[in-house]
Symmetry: C2
Subunit: 106 residues, 2 copies
């Protein structure tokens, strides 16, 4: 949308961008976190218990993943009564995962 799609030959990233790309890849590179992104790509927002049940992941462990992802800007959260709902903030991450998921060799 923003930048025109460049042919591979013109792919040129600054050091700074490479670091940022690496950062995003790194914070997403985990099965549980990918699953979280997948769910939040479809659901707009889910509470920790929702996620914990759907993913079958221990509350505490999930919380650690969630707060990490929030800290790094991938998710955001807001409280609603007893529950805290998480939302996908950096939607571009979905594209990246989708892009990889579309690979035939996977």
């Amino acid at each position: 949308m923003t930048a025109p799609a460049l042919p591979d030959a013109e792919l040129n990233l600054t050091t700074e961008k490479m670091e940022k790309v690496a950062f995003i890849l790194k914070t997403t590179a985990h099965p549980t976190r990918i699953a979280i992104v997948q769910l939040l790509a479809q659901q707009q927002s889910l509470s920790v218990t929702d996620l914990s049940e759907k993913l079958q992941v221990e509350q505490s462990l999930l919380s650690h993943h969630l707060s990490g992802m929030k800290l790094k800007g991938i998710l955001s959260s807001h409280r609603e009564g007893k529950n805290i709902y998480y939302t996908l903030k950096m939607r571009e991450v979905v594209d990246v995962i989708q892009c990889l998921a579309a690979c035939t060799f996977l």
Copy 2:
């Protein structure tokens, strides 16, 4: 370690795929490795010394990165005399990086 079990109906990625996606993200999530991919996206194949010079990365460290990426199927290599040339095998990785690199917020 393993991806949480998810009801397939609600996802476009299977558990297995999520693990593979995570795997690829993980093996790419490093500035030096991204730079390697970037160079090999433009050059078809480069020797270790070429890469070492262009990236200003110590031979040994580079070698470790290269053999890791080869082991994981991202690169391939062949010898030509004294030199060993590395080639991008999993070209899809370029798309992923490009996808992220195109993000305006970066």
